[in-house]
Symmetry: C2
Subunit: 245 residues, 2 copies
């Protein structure tokens, strides 16, 4: 059976996350429903990352198998037509080898976290950024972030419900930059613990507002205890921006 | 009475336009209601431009008079607190001279029009851009746009309900550029006819998709007749980006 790879953009405000939940529609199910409407086949779509409720994607990757080979432009356009009005779009569809697996073949995942740091509340981007009205020191956050780079036990930034077999992960990049009144976090790793990015951003925000130093972040990491870290940042500002294979 | 100037951002999706309409809330009324809640005064807020229903602002300017002098930070924060949940934000409030008038003192208004030009439907920006799935030639649109620069009778791009005393206006800038999959129109003039920017963008889109040439745009302008122009672009992509005094 031919296997297809999709590159997907979605607005997390319209879903309960990648996976179906009892309380609403997952991106995965919206795609499976759309594919069924144009192929008549009920199949399963596998994603590279299981984004949480409210988390967005600029380039999530997924795969699925069809009974028969179908032009990729047709797959892209038909899913986009059938999935409306849900806010998910197929940016690209390609035919891939049988052994391509969106989740297990991934070598790296990249996320972006967006803070809007200004006194005035956000208008257009409600639910798309974390609005922080107190002035944050982005340079201090960037400096503190560098203590987290590399291979560590990230238990301090791990959700209690995380199902990973080990708390040890390797963080390849954690850059904090400003762009106008935005503070942008770029994060890359082979894989992440549940809530790891949001727990890191929430902790670094304590550095940004002067509550913590870089040394405090390092001590929190070394404590290997969730209670030693800062609070979790909201889902609103988090975007899966790409997956490398 | 002290006069205050506000710089405002708003999401046009949340309003029927700047002015109150029978069918819903105008930005002006939302601000007047918010000011009344914190000062107890019922007053009138005057804007630089009467944006239509669905049109957005990144930096609309408005003025109003209070009975007594009030710290500008307090004005900004109190309006922002009282105007929720409507998607309008005071970016800045300043004390201005008695003769400052947001509308009549304005020397130039600037607008941005955003097209997203790609096959995949938009997700995050539904209502914030004009989604055009067929490939457009931005360079051809820019070239054709230059025929509209300067002082002309713009009747071809004027809404029937326009209340301006004359159809003659001076267009200072009309630039068409690309940024990734976006096509951005930057437009500046002292003032505009009703629907002028949207009628120009809709006409230039005909150039972008190969239906018209730059010479056709020039001929349409010279016809001085709305029926000679292209269709009006949707409100979704239009932003008032600034007012110069």
């Amino acid at each position: 059976m031919p296997r297809y790879r999709l590159t997907l953009e979605y607005d997390g405000r319209g879903f309960v996350g990648w996976q179906r939940q009892e309380n609403g529609l997952g991106v995965q199910q919206a795609l499976e429903d759309a594919i069924e409407r144009f192929t008549g086949e009920r199949l399963k779509v596998y994603g590279a990352g299981r984004t949480d409720s409210g988390v967005h994607a600029l380039a999530q990757v997924a795969h699925f198998d069809l009974q028969q080979e179908t032009p990729t432009e047709r797959i892209r356009d038909a899913i986009n037509a059938q999935v409306r009005p849900h806010p998910v779009s197929v940016l690209d569809a390609t035919l891939v080898a049988d052994d391509f697996n969106a989740r297990t073949s991934a070598r790296e995942r990249a996320y972006l976290y967006r803070i809007v740091n200004r006194r005035a509340p956000v208008t257009f981007e409600h639910g798309l950024v974390w609005w922080v009205p107190v002035a944050l020191d982005a340079a201090a956050m960037h400096e503190a972030a560098q203590t987290l780079i590399g291979r560590h036990d990230f238990s301090t930034f791990r959700a209690r419900e995380c199902q990973a077999s080990s708390p040890t992960k390797t963080l390849d990049e954690l850059t904090v930059e400003t762009d106008g009144d935005e503070i942008l976090f770029t994060v890359r790793a082979r894989s992440f613990l549940h809530h790891q990015v949001r727990n890191i951003v929430g902790t670094l925000k304590w550095v940004g507002d002067g509550k913590w130093s870089a040394a405090d972040v390092k001590a929190a990491l070394e404590a290997c205890d969730r209670r030693a870290g800062g609070p979790m940042a909201p889902a609103d500002g988090l975007y899966l921006t790409g997956v490398t294979y």
